[in-house]
Symmetry: C2
Subunit: 202 residues, 2 copies
């Protein structure tokens, strides 16, 4: 029961922080959404909202990384993986009325200039995503430096897509950005002499 | 003096909203930063923080659009314009300790699921940027549909760059994304049979 309560707090907090940001989400609301008391929140997270947010960013960041990586693992090639990734993001936005997007970005922008400890946590999550995405691209045969650059652009353009599609309440930006990302991946693979259908490294 | 006070309120609010988001910025802090009284804020903005934020987003959004468009106007060609745009963004981030970035994004993510009137204002600002950027690309000879897609990716990748570079306190993501965006522009121009150096429409 103890583990269940802690898990529920983190799970519900992830949703609220993602949708409302750090400053816009209060402990009372976090407790109510988790069906926990404020005392229970402090029991599991003695550092209060800041500690809860840090844990939430790490857990939600890892879950999101797992989701995106599983899409790339299921795809027959890199280009298809990118296509599925943006199509999935667009579909999730529509299905959740543009609420469920990146679990890190809203808090990351909120705290970037105002809470250096939490900023460092968001940086750590993004660095983890970048390492995983770079590894996926390297697997497909690109040299590591090009792979790192392409993976950075993949994350950045997905984040930009969440921002523009949430603001417009329209999946069109995310879909258009997906098409651009596919064009870029094709161009980079082509320039590096890697076949778009390549499945394994040499 | 009246106009000066109102301008000062909007100017200082733009800085605070950009750096701290909507929920994280209170009326007291806005008044203090503007060297105005709370009464004065309500005199100019009877709708309080929400009305002030809407005006701030529009004014700061237009100023930022003007800045980016002037970079593209000064550049000898589209590829150079994109290079300068990302180099300028990276330099500004470093010069301001990663505080001065997009004046819309932080508020946009904060309000996307919680304040539909302000969300609509952020959508309007982004739509204005997209129209201007698309026009710039069309001027350089791309058909309007490709231009719209490329302009969407330009804005999205710049936004993603602000997010990743602010989180990491490192200009490297913004610079890497700029290189990817240049590669994409080159690929799209090439595919459309437009010379990268083309300056005017046919």
């Amino acid at each position: 029961v103890v583990a269940a309560t802690r898990d529920r707090i983190v799970e519900q907090s992830a949703v609220l922080f993602m949708r409302q940001g750090y400053a816009g989400t209060g402990l009372k609301q976090l407790a109510a959404a988790s069906e926990a008391t404020i005392g229970s929140l402090y029991h599991f997270f003695p550092g209060g909202k800041a500690e809860l947010a840090a844990e939430t960013l790490r857990v939600a960041g890892q879950a999101y990384e797992g989701l995106v990586m599983s899409i790339f693992d299921a795809a027959p090639d890199l280009v298809t993986g990118v296509e599925w990734c943006f199509e999935g993001a667009a579909a999730t936005l529509v299905a959740t009325d543009y609420a469920d997007a990146c679990p890190i970005a809203t808090v990351a922008l909120d705290v970037a200039s105002s809470d250096d400890a939490l900023r460092a946590v968001t940086a750590e999550v993004f660095a983890g995503w970048l390492a995983s995405a770079t590894a996926k691209v390297v697997e497909r045969g690109l040299p590591v430096e090009r792979a790192d650059e392409l993976a950075t652009m993949l994350i950045a353009s997905l984040e930009g897509g969440f921002l523009l599609s949430r603001a417009a309440k329209d999946p069109a930006p995310m879909k258009a950005i997906g098409r651009s990302m596919v064009a870029l991946v094709r161009a980079v693979l082509d320039e590096s002499g890697v076949s778009p259908g390549r499945l394994t490294s040499p």
